[in-house]
Amino acid sequence: MSTHQTTTSSLHGMMAEFASAEELLDAARRTRGAGYRNVDAYSPFPVHGMDEALALPKSPVPLFVLIGALAGTALGFGLEYWVSVIEYPIMVGGKPFFSWPAFVPVAYETTILLGGLTAAISMLMINGLPMPYHPVFNVERFSHAMTDRFFLCIEATDPKFNREETKKFLEGLHPYQVSEVEE
């Protein structure tokens, strides 16, 4: 425990707990409306419209998947071309060495393979996962985010964050409970 830190700086943020997805969505909209920017929402299932409510930036994952998938096509097709035409040309069934229809299934599979791997890996990287420690778990009731409760956290890094006022603001949203999140 360092002594030179002020109390505010050892705080990760202020968290409010809600009973339903609708309340969480409404709270997220009003928090954005009040000028807070570093806000995150936690729910047991994806809440439709949350991206817009939190004004989250567009995910770059689809673009990465497209690039990964097209790379997979090129790699699969290129491998088949290199093997069948350049390095080991073997005549099969009297067909030309470059028999592209036969290349399509493998190229298709490598497209799906690299596309899928890119989706999973880039999603994990962008989310900063795996993440062995996150301050929100210091709030005991946060385990309910896995089952039946909805949480909104205003982070201390927000320029508008102020321990007292932010707490008062969150209480004004009529949550079930407001708690401080220790760093």
Partner: protein
């Protein structure tokens, strides 16, 4: 003028417009029939098959939605039902094909059969009377399914109850199964038998996927048209078009998957009695059409539909749907016409007049059916049924 009145005026206007086009097209076709009966029947089969596929696609759409639910079907329910209600017209329009069998199908020509041992073997199935009996059975099954489902959804609207929902589900499950079987056989009978020596087991599925694709594209087109004119509830919006766009994207890929599977297997085996089908379809100008199908029935719509915005904005999505409907025409033409024009592209003016004429009559009937019930999207049967149970 209130909303119901303006809707009625809108649909009546559309109905009259399409009826005029339909009657004009039918007269042109009749004139063409007197000039060249053989060409008339061939073009007529092509025009008939396109609109028939759309009709069956609507029937399959209603049954699928009964089983799966989903907002896409709630927003398009009335349009799907109206599409499936064109079936009696299609049964009527099938009659000319029945009369034209000797002019259309090689297996009905005794001279050809006398020279082919295979056709003699197949004569037990491919003969005129059994062809007619089968068509009668198919249409009876489809009409029964469509009439029952339409009647029950009317009951559901007047008096929501879980019993009706269950009844619709219980018919739709076996209904889909029977639909797949009868649709496959109809595709075999009416189109695949144009080249009676050739067969492909995936052929029926290709037609069914085409039916689903045409249905989705048509639903996007007609729903956008209605919604831009304020005829639909405000609940029909971005999310519904996004869903329909995603489904259409899936069907574009499914069409490609099926079409390429058939090609790859036949290309790999390289047997003359199988490759002849593709040989006819890449002869001369047909090759351009084949390449055009790969580009405009797969590549272009596939990449356009990858972009999220293109699926959510109905005015962009409707243009992609238009391209797909047009390519459905082209694909079907490429399936049917090379059977008669084996040496290269042979476009006759009747090939345009027949689909326009039948299409006019189809759309006039469609808008007439759409007028019969409120355009309000079908209430979610489950939510409605639950509310009804709570009230009781």
């Amino acid at each position: 003028m209130n909303n119901a009145d303006s809707n009625r005026a809108l649909l009546e206007g559309a109905q009259k417009r399409w009826l005029t086009i339909g009657v004009a097209g039918a007269l042109l076709c009749a004139a063409g029939g007197f000039m060249n009966a053989e060409q008339f029947f061939r073009s007529y089969l092509f025009g008939f098959m396109f609109w028939f596929n759309l009709t069956l696609g609507c029937l399959a759409g209603v049954m699928t939605h009964n089983l799966t639910g989903g907002d896409w079907g709630i927003a398009t329910r009335r349009q799907l039902e109206a599409g499936m209600r064109v079936l009696p017209l299609m049964a009527l329009l099938f009659l000319p094909i029945l009369f034209g069998v000797p002019k259309i199908y090689e297996w009905a020509n005794p001279e050809h059969v006398a020279h082919s041992a295979i056709l003699q073997q197949k004569a037990g199935y491919l003969n005129q009377s059994f062809f007619g009996i089968r068509a009668f059975v198919y249409f009876s099954i489809w009409l029964t399914l469509a009439n029952l489902l339409y009647k029950w959804s009317g009951e559901l609207e007047r008096n929501p109850s879980l019993a009706i929902v269950r009844r619709m589900e219980n018919l739709s499950g076996p209904g889909i199964l029977i639909f797949f079987l009868t649709s496959t056989l109809a595709a075999f009978d009416w189109v695949m038998s144009l080249e009676p020596h050739w067969y492909s087991t995936i052929y029926g599925l290709l037609f069914i996927v085409g039916q689903g694709l045409a249905m989705l594209a048509f639903m996007i087109a007609v729903t956008t048209w209605l919604s831009n004119r304020g005829a639909l509830s405000e609940a029909v919006g971005t999310k519904n078009f996004h869903d329909l766009g995603k489904l259409m994207h899936g069907f574009v890929v499914l069409w490609t998957y099926g079409s390429f599977s058939q090609f790859l297997i036949i290309w790999s085996a390289n047997l003359p009695e199988e490759t002849i089908w593709y040989a006819h379809r890449i002869a001369g100008g047909w090759k351009l059409i084949a390449i055009g199908l790969a580009v405009f029935h797969f590549l272009v719509p596939f990449f356009l539909l990858l972009i999220r915005n293109n699926k959510m904005k109905s005015n962009i999505l409707v243009k992609i749907a238009g391209l797909i409907l047009f390519m459905r025409f082209v694909d079907l033409y490429w399936f049917i016409s090379p059977a008669f024009n084996t040496n290269g592209l042979g476009l006759h003016w009747l090939d345009l007049a027949a689909p326009v004429g039948i299409g006019g009559l189809w759309l006039a009937t469609f808008y007439g059916q759409l007028r019969k019930r409120s355009l309000a999207p079908l209430p979610d049967p489950f939510a409605e049924a639950e509310q009804a149970m709570e009230r009781a």
